[in-house]
Symmetry: C2
Subunit: 487 residues, 2 copies
């Protein structure tokens, strides 16, 4: 993957768990290299014959890469790019139908892998030379395989103080527990992480030290905060110091917004920038500081093209990629051939600069939606699709009554549940902040027992779906309900 | 799912393993039902906006369902069915692009689930009424989730005496081991399975009794044998007696062939039958006898449409389906939207009878290929894509020399490795039979120590890919090498 002036990854194989270590390559896959011999007649493969696949032609009509939509009333452009897929391989085309529909390498089609490797070099600029790419079925599949690679039953996993619930729903049944690290408006605090790990043995005698950090560093779900270059470097250095692997789950990387300016109404396309200027405006990935190969980056097309592709890729060191490939062989095989076919040919048609232009315009679209909603928020998100709203409960007589009655095991939660129910009765739906509480075991399941800040609660508001009118109407409904709840 | 005159499934939840038991529904998914309320403004979802997906139109050109191809020189028909996908939902159409590309139910799109439930009732006729459907990413993904549902570390798993290697590559790292059951030309022997389980405690004191049977009952990979109705009923009854769950991995169900008749050259289309006649010619699924809901059937479109779809579905009792859905939420999410879009619309376009006609013709195609290769085989396969060739080694002076030297830890394997290498030097590639040996632990890794039949070896030959000319040429090359190896 070029860039040979950079160091190669160090040996981090001691992080691999027992189950992953004991996987062997599938014997059937070994035979594949013999099939390529000139004149070989293979009775070995057992592939169905591609002439017997019913799919002969396919095409999609897509927005031109430079499309700028009206954020208030988005209408598809009249002229679409038509991308035709060929049945068999053609010069100058990406993946063909026949190849996409056949069993193939579990790593993914070479056309997609090569694109991802080139794109990674251009956009993320890893600080080591021998990184590799493996396709995934999106970041849910990818995170499942990272836990399957690194975590033993009962491990402690470092996470942000508010964390994505589906990611922990995976490992809670394994008896794992979260070690929440404090966050501020720049994301996870490196001083807190260093302090936790430095004093680990003293504070947790006999408990295995965490060696995996799960983080959504850009447009953190739910807090919306984004970790800038300096903080990322500090977190990375702390991970080197304490030998921690970073899993960078980064679906919102390309949706980084400029600071919210209430006097300035953003208009998509108005602040048009070159692809280079757009890329320069984005905070770097952890890969930029990763001179050892201890970052496993999870990239996905879910937020940039559409979730239904169920397609993404790992960027990691060759030892981790090889083990992840072994798991892929027996757990899923390669992602859908249709998804690979569509994405490979779309990116080939748009070209890399076209795709980056698409991303820049997409960022402007979601930024406009954020600006509509940010009218009532005090912490405008710098990336992603969410506003993380903090509420002070001690101003509410109703909350104080619940608290003072002494009858509630968790007064904060009881009051917030009531507020959520009142909001949905008034037909406005928020996501309860409690969904994002790191799971630290049953003993720490209450606001008090886990040591959360008393008298404070959170809701998450998504601005990706509603129209401007719906946002205004929804915010009005919220205002009324909140007034009632706080009297 | 209709058919209410049938019994409902019994409670089999004691088979679910500890990890699966402790999964909770994702809290985010709970909120979805509130979103459907009239007039609700949702700030909860966090879905990307579908107007910002670049995909606007799509279409595929497919063979008409009634296509009959020339088996010697398969050429695509001149007239294709064009299936257009609409952006938004349209009356009378299956899945739309906008829905397929958005996050959706992890169970899969209702259009595909409904099709699969109807098809299951028509073709497989389960003997209980409350079976349910869950989409999978093909049978690799599905088997992974079955093991994740039922098996604990170190469990013993019942398998055929020759078994599919990738299925055991999944659980070998979990410390599980195979309990091989004898097979004859009708597949797994029910008397042997009953004997193993009846004497389990006596022969394996203190070892947990197997409670999961993994089986490819039609066109067994590699042996090619097919289990007919009577044997399936016997195996099912033994599983009831011993409280065993059956995982029916059945990708070759629709490729069941009539007996091989060397005097009769099969021609696709020549024995055209109605969809009803074709279905009647097929041995039933285990579902037909499953009055308790103890069969987990794995269906896939990999062999009937193409592997690149990475799309299939589970048929199982509601308790198992619910737990498999919990795993799907955190491990993979729903299969690719493109795959669901294509398959849903194709089946909608062809109609159920059209699809069954397609399957009948496909069966005839592969049957013709089998007949080409069966010219040298003594056990013509009755389904699937493989011939399982048995070799008698004791006729070979070279084998006897290796055996008598006393220097080889496994003379059978050493000789078979030599034969395989000679064959590939002569440019004909077979799959070694050893790949299909059930893994019973390191102590039973040699022909002798695992008690395999001495002086016998196997190769698997696939007839799905080569042309008739390649088959004849390959068989000639084989004959020469085998002559040399047996002198």
């Amino acid at each position: 993957m070029a860039r040979t002036e950079l160091p190669v990854s160090i040996d981090l194989s001691h992080h691999i768990n027992a189950l992953s270590k004991s996987r062997h390559p599938s014997p059937l896959k070994d035979i594949i290299k013999y099939m390529a011999y000139d004149g070989m007649i293979s009775f070995a493969g057992g592939l169905p014959h591609s002439s017997l696949f019913p799919f002969q032609t396919a095409s999609i009509g897509v927005y031109p890469a430079s499309t700028v939509l009206d954020p208030i009333n988005p209408q598809a452009p009249e002229k679409l790019d038509i991308v035709n897929f060929s049945k068999a391989e053609l010069d100058g085309q990406a993946l063909s139908i026949a190849t996409a529909m056949q069993y193939g390498s579990c790593a993914g089609d070479p056309s997609v892998i090569k694109w991802a490797a080139d794109f990674t070099n251009i956009v993320f600029q890893p600080a080591y030379s021998d990184f590799e790419i493996l396709l995934s079925g999106g970041n849910t599949d990818a995170w499942k395989k990272v836990v399957g690679l690194l975590s033993e039953q009962g491990d402690k996993i470092l996470v942000e103080a508010h964390t994505y619930p589906s990611s922990q729903a995976l490992w809670i049944p394994m008896g794992c527990e979260a070690v929440p690290v404090k966050v501020d408006s720049h994301g996870m605090r490196s001083d807190d992480m260093d302090a936790i790990l430095t004093s680990w043995e003293a504070n947790n005698p006999g408990v295995k030290k965490p060696h995996l950090l799960y983080i959504v560093p850009v447009g953190s779900n739910p807090t919306g905060s984004t970790m800038l270059a300096q903080r990322k470097k500090e977190i990375y250095d702390a991970c080197v110091k304490h030998d921690v692997i970073i899993c960078e789950d980064d679906p919102y990387f390309f949706l980084q917004y400029p600071e919210y300016d209430s006097g300035f109404a953003a208009t998509p396309g108005s602040n048009a920038s070159t692809p280079e200027e757009y890329l320069k405006s984005l905070a770097p990935s952890f890969l930029k500081y990763d001179f050892e190969g201890r970052v496993i980056r999870l990239d996905t097309f879910s937020k940039t093209l559409s979730p239904g592709n169920r397609l993404g890729y790992f960027v990691a060191n060759p030892v981790f990629i090889e083990r992840l490939l072994r798991a892929t062989e027996v757990e899923t095989q390669a992602p859908s051939g249709w998804s690979q076919l569509v994405v490979s040919n779309l990116l080939h048609n748009w070209g890399t600069n076209g795709y980056i232009t698409w991303l820049a315009n997409l960022r402007d679209q979601y930024r406009t939606r954020r600006d509509y909603m940010a009218i009532f928020s005090f912490v405008p998100p710098s990336a992603g699709m969410f506003i993380w709203a903090r509420f002070y409960l001690t101003n509410s007589p109703r909350f104080l009554k619940i608290q003072d009655s002494g009858k509630s095991v968790d007064p904060e939660q009881e009051f917030l549940d009531y507020v959520w129910a009142e909001l949905s009765k008034a037909l406005v739906l928020l996501t309860p902040g409690s969904y994002y509480t790191p799971w630290q075991g049953k003993d720490k399941a209450l606001t008090k027992t886990r040591g959360s800040e008393p008298g404070v609660g959170y809701f998450r508001l998504a601005f990706s779906m509603p129209t401007r009118e719906e946002i205004y109407m929804g915010v009005n409904r919220m205002a009324k309900v909140l007034q009632d709840c706080w009297e």
